[in-house]
């Protein structure tokens, strides 16, 4: 528990001055990097056990399959840091591209409505995401209903809308614009990877270095004090919910493009993975703590473990069990080894 400062006992006048800030590694920082050693360990282990693991293809594949989950993790982390939660993200992932497909696809076998041309697909999907965030915000911020129950309700409602418009069937033959992000490749890497990296980079920067970013921590840490400091807390929370909706829609566009279809259960049941990745990465469920870098290491770690398990030839039927078990084991490990008390 000692930090690296060379401070004298309290009150002595020659305590550290600004100049000596250089090498202060705060506990908060350490917490962000907590998962880096296990990630390295797993990569090393995988490379030793399975030579095929070491290839670039493995990592490209890993990153592009986890791209959409990673975007959801960004969205959820922002909301968790602000002291709220959003379960409905997993339904938005399906609904946003679903509605886009429904409105743009031809009638008949594609059971679309063909109301607008294909290039509208992406704007429509994003608008749906923003609208979902807006509604969540109205219920949580304006009507002051608990975020858990609101978004649980939205989770079911939104999934129901998708099942309704698609008659429980799959939209396929998506327009080129809707397919683009999930299938294109930029500078030799799938575009989805670039999108994820850019969004994490922007997110990390905004959270650490801008006024709005810091206000999320203030609100999550103590909403009354944040208000007394002049932060318009309701407005910020509402904005965060809308941004999260947008990110979920983007995740949906990427994943539907990747699969070249929108199934009616796209994203269904994945919110647990999202929460788990964020929490393992150091984001507190109590609000006010955590970082996107940490959250990124969280998704990366969980997906790496799975990659290794796939290489080990674990049968599919056991994946759900392993998924849950791995998460619980990692959480226990953090509690015992790292002494985290807020997971």
């Amino acid at each position: 528990m000692t930090d690296t400062l060379t401070t004298k006992p309290d009150g002595t006048t020659d305590a550290a001055r600004p100049g000596s800030r250089g090498v202060t590694i705060t506990l908060a920082r350490l917490r962000d990097f907590a998962l880096v050693p296990p990630i390295i360990a797993i990569i090393v282990l995988g490379s030793i056990l399975y030579p095929a693991f070491r290839t670039q293809a493995t990592f490209t594949d890993l990153l592009s399959t986890m791209a959409w989950i990673a975007l959801l993790v960004v969205a959820e982390s922002l909301i968790l840091i602000t002291g709220r939660m959003d379960l409905s993200l997993e339904s938005t992932v399906g609904l946003a591209p679903g509605i886009a497909a429904w409105l743009t696809l031809p009638t008949g076998i594609n059971h679309g409505l063909h109301l607008v041309p294909g290039f509208w697909a992406v704007p429509i999907a994003l608008a749906v995401g923003a609208l979902v965030g807006l509604i969540n915000g109205f219920l949580i911020v304006r009507l002051r209903i608990n975020a858990f129950i609101v978004t649980l309700g939205m989770l079911i409602t939104l999934r129901g809308v998708l099942t309704g418009i698609s008659h429980g069937q799959t939209f396929f033959g998506l327009s080129g614009s809707q397919m683009y992000l999930g299938s294109a490749s930029w500078f030799g890497l799938p575009a989805s990877i670039w999108v994820v990296l850019i969004i994490f980079a922007v997110g990390i920067f905004v959270l650490a270095k801008t006024r709005v970013g810091r206000s999320l921590y203030a609100i999550g840490g103590n909403v009354d004090a944040a208000r007394a400091a002049g932060i318009r807390t309701d407005r910020v929370v509402w904005t965060v919910l809308i941004i999260a909706g947008l990110l979920a829609a983007l995740a949906g566009i990427i994943e539907s493009g990747n699969l070249a279809s929108v199934t009616s259960n796209l994203g269904s049941g994945r919110i647990f993975d999202v929460f788990a990745a964020a929490v393992i990465g150091g984001v507190s469920l109590n609000g006010g703590k955590g970082s996107l870098f940490g959250a990124f290491t969280g998704v990366l770690l969980l997906n790496l473990i799975f990659k290794v398990l796939t290489f080990a030839g674990v049968p599919n039927q056991w994946f759900d069990f392993l998924n849950g078990a791995v998460i619980l084991v990692v959480l226990m490990g953090q509690r015992i080894v790292g002494g985290r008390t807020d997971v």
């Binding site: 528990m1 309290d10 009150g11 270095k209 801008t210 006024r211 203030a218 007394a228 002049g230 318009r232």
Partner: protein, 512 residues
């Protein structure tokens, strides 16, 4: 001085001390909170523990009540070694405590707060009617007039404090620790508390009493222990330690001569704050007064006077039901919120620092600069370097301990947290500074530091409104507006006697 016979410290009684702690050391990371300190409290006495903010008093309390284990040292109660930390029942039978930080359960009813975990003694089912009757009776003895069925979060700060005190004193423990119980009580409530403590002392109950109000120590206690910078300085009968020496022991320097701390009287400029016919339903009615630049005005009153309602309406955290608040001649707006007021040039220290004052998990630097993000920005990007610079200015100006901008505010001592809140208020160089109970829980020297910072701001042309009933704070005011039961009942200007002020706050007509 008539001590009960059991309390007699002379005559070689064979009773062991109620608590004897020796060689206690406790460290938190780089901070040493206690450095080999001792404490010995004789049975039946009221023993004062004093020291500046961060001296380690509350840390000792957490050790004496079994919340934390010392890194080194021993604790004995009446000659028996302290029970293991896990044995809460044993601890509870030995010692009761009112902690410095509220331990109220906001979501539970007042009745349940009073009897938490003992709602149905000896039975298995709770009889709510009995519980309520019992609670109402208990509160009646404290003159707390609230419905015991309401949730504790609806109580005022003072009522909450009283509920806590009533709870701990009702448990029947023979040794009671009070960590700054009077920091948020008005004079009348303090008197009631003292009467209660004395009555319990007559029955042989022993007290450890912590307060920054030294006159209370002289009024109430028999012995005093002084800590300074985590060390034990002295333990002596209070009669042998006059005021000046006590202060010297606490601060390590000679007490300065008292002088008039007020900055020069302000000129006749346009007021920076005009309150006209302000009404907040159920709290205050028809309040009007002004504050001019460079002027320090007190807004004083006992509990229930409505002074905090007025202040909250001024800073925009409570919506007035009538009347106007005008800052530096801006157009009066009814629906002005805090953000709007901050922009208009208001800085303030909120009434309840734990609820509104700071973000516990964030650093001192972040908390101090929370109201001034624009000063840290370049092209919309916050500069950590500038943040630390601003934080360092605050740390130096207000003498915040420990001197580490990156320290989380949650880990500061109570008084230092208050300094952080003050620093936050001063950071945006306000035109109007509204200080609500600014020195609650602050040690005598830091009190001066805080109020001098306010006076300094006044010299630099800020209008200051001190909302308090603390006579030491009000000494800094050019004039004091007095409120009683929601109305302005008078005003004191220039020179006044403390007696006059106290009488006025208690609702006795001013004769002048």
């Amino acid at each position: 001085m008539s001590l009960p016979t059991a309390a007699s410290t002379t005559g070689g009684t064979s009773r062991p001390p109620v608590v004897e702690a020796a060689g206690i050391t406790k460290r938190f990371g780089a901070t040493t909170a206690l450095d080999g300190v001792g404490l010995r409290v004789e049975p039946g006495t009221i023993h004062a523990l004093v020291g500046r903010n961060g001296a380690g008093k509350s840390t000792l309390v957490s050790i004496l009540t079994g919340l934390q284990e010392p890194d080194a040292g021993s604790v004995e109660f009446s000659g028996q070694p302290a029970p293991p930390l896990a044995d809460r029942t044993a601890w509870r039978s030995i010692v009761a405590c009112v902690y410095q930080k509220s331990t109220i359960f906001p979501g539970l009813s007042v009745a349940e707060n009073l009897y938490v975990n003992s709602q149905a003694p000896g039975r298995h089912l709770i009889r709510w009617r009995d519980l309520r009757a019992k609670s109402a009776e208990l509160l009646a003895t404290w003159d707390v007039d609230v419905d015991v069925r309401i949730r504790a979060e609806a109580l005022t700060v003072e009522q909450r404090q009283l509920v806590e005190i009533a709870r701990s004193l009702s448990k029947g423990a023979r040794f009671i620790i009070l960590d700054e119980p009077t920091a948020r009580l008005d004079a009348a409530a303090v008197e009631r508390l003292f009467a209660r403590i004395r009555a319990l002392q007559q029955q042989g109950v022993t007290f450890l009493y912590i307060s920054h109000h030294l006159h209370e120590i002289f009024e109430l206690c028999q012995d005093v222990t002084v800590y300074r910078d985590a060390r034990h300085i002295v333990t002596a009968p209070i009669a042998e330690l006059p005021h000046a020496e006590l202060v010297a022991a606490m601060t390590g320097e000679k007490a300065a001569e008292a002088t008039d701390p007020r900055p020069p009287a302000p000129g006749r400029e346009a007021p920076v704050l005009s309150v006209a016919n302000l009404t907040v339903a159920g709290a205050c009615a028809d309040v009007s007064f002004e504050v001019r630049p460079g002027e320090i005005v007190g807004l004083a009153g006992a509990g229930g006077s409505g002074k905090f309602a007025v202040a909250n309406a001024i800073v925009g955290s409570r919506r007035p039901d009538g009347g106007t608040v005008q800052i530096a001649g801006e157009r009066p707006r009814r629906r002005a919120d805090v953000a709007y007021r901050l922009k208009a040039g208001v800085g303030f220290v909120p009434e309840d620092r734990h609820r509104e004052g700071f973000i516990p998990d964030l650093s001192v630097a972040e908390n101090v600069t929370m109201t001034v993000p624009q000063r840290l920005e370049r092209n919309g990007v916050l500069s950590t370097r500038r943040r630390n610079e601003v934080a360092w200015q605050a740390i130096e100006r207000l003498d915040i301990v420990p001197r580490r901008p990156e320290q989380a505010v949650a880990d500061l001592s109570g008084g230092n947290q208050q300094k952080v809140v003050m620093a936050r208020a001063l950071a945006n160089e306000p035109r109007l500074l509204v200080l609500m109970a600014p020195t609650a829980g602050v040690d005598i020297k830091s009190k001066q530091t805080l109020m001098n910072a306010a006076a300094e701001a006044a010299r630099a042309h800020t209008g200051v409104l001190v909302v308090s009933d603390d006579l030491d704070d009000l000494r800094y005011c050019h004039r004091v507006v007095i409120m009683f039961r929601g109305h302005v009942t008078g005003e004191l200007k220039g020179e006044w006697e403390d007696q006059q002020l106290v009488a006025a706050m208690e609702g006795i007509e001013l004769t002048s």
